[in-house]
């Protein structure tokens, strides 16, 4: 009894677990229940129940309520589809002039809007693309195909790669000095020499459109949310879901609305990249001190001047970090959006992976990663750069970099011109190294993969088999064996113990949504994979983080490693694991572990390093050994922050599990991918995405509530 009084929380947890397991044992698997398939696939079976809602009839197999809830949200995806369809095809038809037909036509308003957005984006993407690699579409847009045939000189051939490379180097030098200049130059030369110039520039042109649009959109919405409380309250739940929604989930709705192609990819990217920009803008603006705002007002600023000349420049740092985030998201979407037709490196990567050509995939992957790292470094350097302000500069000093660039343009053109004589036959390598005509290291990588397979086949296979048979399968079975009441008891009980009734109701609501869709079993599989990944990642991350945080150098080193790994587009992680483990669950799991370990490590290091040194001194004075200090002082104090890291780990793990569907899993992600080839897929894709987001939000709510409470108890801000 005394024990209970002393540790009330512990007792509550024990009670909760007892109930949970009790329920699992008490409720049997109903006869004839087919895991996963029975519910998810729409097979008509004898004795099914049906109901109809909003004119949509849903049939399902009835099971004990305590075991599985009936799919009472089964109508929802179909309804979303119907609504989309209605808006696209039937709502508000307007007449417009079709210049091709030379007559008026009627088209629904929404279709008009989406077509307009598509063609505008496509125009800009093509425009930038043609600057880099040449083409005629932009010129044609202003003239006509006939005109181009008559005037072949107008066809722009693109900028020689030498000039782009020099430009990148000069930009690197201007922003961050020699190191970045050399890195930029080497990267661009690598890309060119290895024949990846064309796809790389395609990817780049796509990013150069998507990133600025996301930036402007995010900034404007952020400013709006800052100014209006109403907008903020409306936006914040949407943003929360969007930030935890897997990127795949946006593909289908975007495809339905905007079709397939670079523009569709760009739109999906913009949708994913805008939320972090909004959040960082609001964060930055809120952090501006009220005195600065008063100072602006007293200087006689009107609202517009206040925003443009005082608030935004003062919040510049946060906003530029937002820009950096946008660029990173764009690159990671460069691969994912090629599912709906974005051309470039991502497209090549997908093709290669589909053909299991690891070598080609690696080539593309390396280029994407390099571009990501360069853009990351450039944008961060820009964010941290302080504008130099000197009054008396002469013309040459002021326009130094512009002049140097102009010089390299001339040199590059001359080189290309001479190149055209030198490489009389075939390709002018001083102009552009054509795709797959460069040095390819594809064979090298492929041979490497073969070698790994030949050499390590046996140990890899043993490991693989052991993991799948002895660990993963039983875990999976255990998750699926959970009756739905048991899950509710566990989740809501945890919510209640951690955050009281409010928390319990919130997480219960999220769970209920998932339970009422027809994909509960799939969600369980997603949860199981994420759980495995999170457990392993957390153990590795916290251990590595703890070890590395013991001194300054290793802390800095490991944070640097985390930074670098985080710039890698998420899809790239799939390449090496497929190389080692082939198309198996193991491969997905390893990718999840690698990817999700990053935040666990980072937050552990940050948490442990941020403990005030005075506490260490105090501990040292009371004669505590290093290990005792770690256990008794450091960990308890850093624990809330580490928990926030685990929270991020969960989100990362979920993302990677879903991306892993590309390799082949049996979870929600698999269905999201399937929805891509389904004419009725938009609703499904969205709801599936929301299910994943809700899984993330359940954990997020629990951990965040806990960490905030704990931080308050410890007196942190």
């Amino acid at each position: 009894m005394e024990f209970i009084n002393k540790h009330p929380k512990l007792f509550q947890w024990l009670l909760l677990l007892l109930t949970f397991f009790g329920l699992i044992f008490a409720i049997d698997v109903p006869e004839g229940y087919k895991f996963i398939r029975a519910e998810a696939e729409h097979v008509i079976v004898e004795g099914q129940s049906t109901y109809s809602f909003l004119g949509i009839s849903v049939s399902y197999t009835y099971f004990n309520f305590l075991w599985r809830l009936p799919p009472w949200l089964g109508w929802f995806p179909i309804w979303i589809n119907d609504v989309l369809y209605f808006f696209l095809n039937d709502w508000w038809k307007i007449d417009f002039w079709d210049s091709d037909l030379g007559d008026y036509r009627t088209r629904p308003f929404m279709l008009h809007v989406t077509r307009f957005i598509s063609s505008t984006l496509l125009f800009f993407i093509e425009f930038i693309r043609e600057i880099f690699i040449g083409g005629v579409k932009t010129v044609v847009a202003f003239t006509s195909w006939d005109w181009i045939d008559a005037n072949p000189w107008a066809e722009f051939r693109g900028i020689p790669w030498t000039i782009v490379t020099a430009g990148a180097a000069i930009l690197g030098y201007k922003l961050a000095g020699r190191g970045l200049a050399i890195f930029a130059a080497v990267t661009m030369i690598y890309i060119s020499v290895f024949g990846q110039w064309e796809p790389s520039m395609q990817t780049l042109s796509f990013i150069l459109v998507a990133a600025p649009v996301s930036f402007i959109l995010g900034l404007s919405l952020g400013v709006w949310a800052y100014k209006s409380k109403k907008v903020e309250t409306a936006l914040s739940p949407i943003l929360m879901v969007m930030q935890t929604m897997p990127q795949y989930a946006y593909l289908v709705p975007v495809m339905v609305l905007f079709g397939i192609g670079d523009h569709a990819g760009a739109i999906a990217t913009i949708v994913v990249a805008t939320p972090p920009m909004i959040l960082l803008t609001v964060l930055g603006l809120r952090a501006v001190s009220p005195e600065i705002i008063d100072a602006g007002k007293m200087s006689g600023c009107n609202d517009f001047q206040l925003m443009l000349k005082v608030l935004i420049p003062t919040a510049k740092r946060d906003i530029l970090i937002g820009v950096n985030q946008v660029i990173m998201v764009c690159l990671s979407m460069a691969v994912i959006s090629s599912f709906i037709g974005a051309k470039g490196l991502g497209w090549n990567l997908l093709l290669a992976l589909n053909r299991l050509n690891i070598g080609a995939a690696l080539e593309a992957g390396v280029c994407i990663t390099l571009i990501a790292v360069i853009l990351d470094k450039l944008s961060l350097a820009w964010a941290n750069k302080q504008t130099d302000y000197f009054t008396n500069l002469n013309f040459f000093q002021r326009y130094k970099y512009g002049l140097i660039f102009a010089g390299t343009v001339i040199i590059g053109l001359i080189l290309a011109y001479f190149g055209s004589f030198y490489f009389k036959e075939g390709f002018n390598y001083l102009f552009e190294v054509p795709h797959n005509k460069g040095i390819s290291n594809e064979d090298f990588w492929n041979r490497g993969v073969d070698w790994i397979w030949d050499t390590f086949f046996y140990p890899l296979k043993v490991f693989n088999t052991w993991l799948i048979v002895d660990v993963l399968q039983p875990m999976r079975a255990a998750f699926l064996r959970m009756p739905v009441v048991a899950t509710f008891v566990l989740v809501m009980g945890a919510g209640y113990i951690i955050g009281g009734l409010r928390s319990a109701l919130i997480v219960g609501g999220f769970t209920l949504f998932i339970a009422l869709t027809e994909w509960w079993d799939r969600a369980l599989v997603t949860a199981y994979m994420a759980t495995c990944g999170v457990i392993v990642s957390s153990i590795i991350g916290v251990t590595v983080g703890t070890v590395c945080s013991q001194n300054n150098y290793s802390s800095k080193f490991i944070l640097g490693v985390c930074d670098t790994f985080q710039t890698f587009p998420s899809f790239v992680y799939l390449i090496p694991v497929m190389m080692l483990f082939g198309v198996t669950d193991t491969a997905v799991l390893i990718a999840v572990v690698v990817y999700a370990t990053i935040p666990a490590t980072r937050y552990t290091v940050e948490g442990l390093r941020s403990i005030p040194p005075s506490l260490h001194d105090a501990a040292a004075m009371s004669g505590v050994t290093a290990l005792q200090r770690l256990i008794k002082i450091d960990f308890p104090l850093a624990f809330p922050h580490i928990m926030l890291g685990i929270n991020q780990t969960v989100v990362f793990a979920l993302f990677m599990v879903i991306i892993g569907a590309f390799i082949g899993t049996e979870d929600l992600g698999q269905y999201i991918l399937k929805a891509l080839s389904d004419r009725q897929g938009a609703g499904k894709g969205l709801i599936l995405g929301i299910c994943v987001a809700f899984i993330g939000l359940i954990v997020d709510n629990l951990i965040r509530t806990y960490a905030e409470k704990r931080k308050k108890e410890l007196g942190f801000n």
Binding site: D294, M298, G300, N302, P313
Partner: protein, 343 residues
């Protein structure tokens, strides 16, 4: 009428924070009790403040932290809207101004200096000072030359291209002062401008501030929580407590005749000879013959002349700026002021 009309005039200004402040204030009928309001979820910032500031005068608002000084200042500059009451700037009803007129007023008549400097981090010293001018729409060339003038005025020449982060606290506040003066305002608001500075720099800045004011002659509302500072700078002092102005008077009167117990607590510690001018303790002229040759000015602080007066055997004549004798002071009186509590 026009010549004596105050530049700033506040009549029964209330500022109450909270959801239904206005209704509560109406119901209270002018009798605002901070405690009752607090229970209803409202915080009383300023409670029935009335005062005038005439042209060229410096009114110092003094009070402990949270007493509502900043709130009063923000009401007077309409950075926040007073819950009720009237505020007139040059006879113009401040609270009825439209947004456009308010901006015009700020662009031409008001300047403000802030406790934490509130400089724009992305602009240099020169750009910061030129900022109000550029907002006003003045050409870059003119605004820069005007700003340069201000840089010289506050003694920052040579540092005009520094960024705020590269300056010390005292230098940053000089920039703040220069910026607030750039548009040549008539009215100058200062909210604890020297509080963030360390004591030595603070003293230096106070002296410099007095020097500036002696030539600029602005109408000033100055907020501080430092009583010594208030005594040193003020023409008149308003002492605030819980949003109420407890006493509004000249420094000498506040020291000599504290109106409430609260004010008395402040004045107890103050060494009078450091505060009071001869004028405050002199007696009327009684016997014109029996005076010393040594004369003192009526504006001299007692401490600075005490030794000289004590050296005299006869009463010392007190003169004004026109060398007219306006009173006398006996050495014994000085001894009383310095050592005794006879009054």
């Amino acid at each position: 009428m026009t010549s004596v009309e105050p530049v700033i005039r506040c009549e029964s200004v209330y500022k109450i924070f909270g959801a239904n402040a206005e209704k509560m204030l109406k119901d209270a009928n002018g009798n605002v009790d901070a405690k009752i309001f607090q229970e209803a979820g409202c915080i009383v910032g300023v409670n029935n403040a009335s005062f005038d500031v005439s042209r060229g005068e410096m009114l110092v608002v003094m009070g402990l932290s949270g007493s509502g000084k900043s709130t009063l200042l923000r009401c007077a500059s309409r950075l926040t809207d007073a819950t009720s009451g009237k505020i007139y700037i040059d006879g113009q009803d401040l609270l009825s101004l439209k947004n456009k007129e308010l901006i015009e007023l700020r662009r031409n008549k008001m300047g403000m200096v802030f406790q934490s400097f509130a400089l724009l981090p992305h602009k240099t010293v020169l750009e910061n000072i030129a900022f109000p001018l550029q907002i006003k729409g003045i050409k870059t060339k003119d605004s820069v030359s005007k700003a340069m003038e201000m840089v010289k005025l506050v003694g920052l020449d040579g540092r005009e291209n520094y960024f705020p982060r590269e300056l010390s606290g005292g230098q940053q506040q000089r920039v703040g002062i220069a910026r607030s003066l750039a548009v040549e305002p008539d009215i100058w608001f200062l909210d604890e401008p020297f509080s963030a500075l360390d004591p030595l720099i603070r003293k230096e800045m106070q002296d410099e501030f007095l020097r500036l004011q002696s030539s600029l002659k602005k109408t000033i509302l100055f907020v501080t929580h430092d009583f010594d500072e208030a005594l040193k700078l003020a023409d008149r002092i308003a002492i605030m407590k819980d949003g109420i102005i407890e006493q509004l008077d000249t420094p000498a009167n506040i020291v000599l005749n504290p109106a409430t117990e609260y004010v008395r607590k402040f004045t107890q510690e103050v060494p009078r000879e450091k505060v009071l001018k001869i004028e405050a303790v002199m007696d009327p002229v009684a016997d014109e013959q029996n005076l010393s040759d040594f004369k003192v000015s009526k504006d001299a602080i007692i401490e600075t002349v005490a030794e000289k007066i004590l050296d005299q055997e006869k009463s010392v004549p007190v003169i004004d700026s026109n060398q007219q004798v306006v009173g006398i002071i006996k050495p014994s009186k000085v001894i009383h002021v310095v050592f005794g509590n006879s009054e």
